[in-house]
Amino acid sequence: MRLWREHPHSPCLRETRVIVNGVSIDDTYAEAFGMKATRIVITAASMTWAKHAANAAFGFATSVIACGCEAGIERELSPEETPDGRPGVAGLLFAVSTKELAKQLERRVGQCVLTCPTTAVFAGCTGDEALPLGKNLRYFGDGWQMSKVVAGRRYWRIPVMDGEFLAEETTGLLRSVGGGNFLVLARSTAQALTACEAAVAAIAKTPGAIAPFPGGVVRSGSKVGSKYKALPASTNDAFCPTLRGATKSELSPEVETVLEIVIDAVDDDAMKTAMRAGLDAVCAIGADGGIVRLSAGNYGGKLGQFHYRLREILA
């Protein structure tokens, strides 16, 4: 990979261009927001069943706008890494408030983990505040639930039809960052997908970060506002290739597809690491793989507390 700055000869070009492996890096930033998050660990008799529970619990959790939270599997855990010595997965949930996070966590664990055969759920983090995990779900036991304190942590054993559902009483609250992103502008949809798949694979290896959208990739990037007053956001027409002739487009003629990768992370460092991993993976594919530009989504810097400049992250 090669990163160099191209100094324009023409005085009309005021901006210094940064090219990485043939990919132009926009002088812009991703605008991200402070969020509340938690990590939980789901275990089961096999990895298959742990993932069934996790996929259900972290499904329909792409955006806080309508899903209530953003969630995803952080990584798979070997039996040696889990509290009860069974295979499992660690997952992260992000929401805009502690109250909403607690609501989403309880609903999702109650409907998707409690219901899934052989599963158990544990706190995956500690924090200044505790979020109920099995604390209220225990009442499903109708008085037959049992409390156990192991190594100073309380667990609830709730009788169910395959034996018992084991749930730790609480999990921790993390002050995290959500909405980190970058846009991949490519010559074709296939090439954009290939690059994004590589980026998502690289992000998946980063501890403390998830890409919550389907496959980690978004095609419906949005702008703030709409011509319809009821809508707070609408399609990002400046990056829609089909509207190139009709709107003030950000796309050059060779760009056929734009895909976005959105990242949520447990802290600022994890976000930077994940963005770097994703951007590096796309740049490694480079212009030879059909990648034209990398850009990022922001709202003018007025809404989000965290700004991630692409060029600084790649430097």
Binding site: D84, M146, S147, V150, A151, L166
Partner: protein, 267 residues
Amino acid sequence: MSGTTLSLRAAPAGRIDMTGVLPEILAGRTAAEIEKIPLRVDGVPVALGECFAVTAGEGEALTIRPEGARLDGLGRDMRTGMLRVEGAAGHYLAQGMRGGELIVDGDAGDCAANGMRGGCLRIAGNAGDWLAAALIGDRAGMGGGVVAVGGNAGDRLGDRMRRGLVLVRGRAGTACGARMRAGTLVVAGGCGTLAGFGLRRGSLILGQAPEAMPACHGDAGIVTLAWLGLLRRHAEAILPGAMPDTSRMHRYMGDLAFGGKGEILVP
């Protein structure tokens, strides 16, 4: 950094009450100051220095060399630090203990860990009767912490126990877990008769079936319990070999005459 050491000068004529001789009390004191601490030998006040040779050290670490099992009340009401007994302990060991770590290299007498609320008590040898039971006059027994016994335990293990974990690598006597209210007892070698008699809540995990299963316990059949994996990981770090190596156990619920929400688990 070495702690304070108390070595018994000679086998005492009577029993010595070691109440108040704790790591947190002795920390920072000179040998002369420690020697003035009053003890009771058969109820008679005696200066500590008359019974023990004192080597003052630093920090909250205390080693006692008892030369026999006549030191009662060792670690009573202990809250922090480390107390090591290089030999056998007498009765009432770790009564009301709240924190820290107490290690006994030999056996312990009766009524150890009565009313214990926290910390960790390790007994390398055997423990006497009424381990982790209630203090005399109290309605509830051990209320927290961990007790690990490398050998056998006597009768009435965990009587009226309220919370906490007791691990016994050997065998327990009769009425093991009797009148338990909550908490967890693990006895790798099984136990005598009347196991879980009057059990209200709590778990009695036995490595071998008891001599006779109490009549007032209902057979819940064979079940796989995920929390046993969790407990095993914790227990193995404290006393390896105490927990059964399976999470699939035969469960008996009882005592049905006392609510029936306790359990006896056997492989």
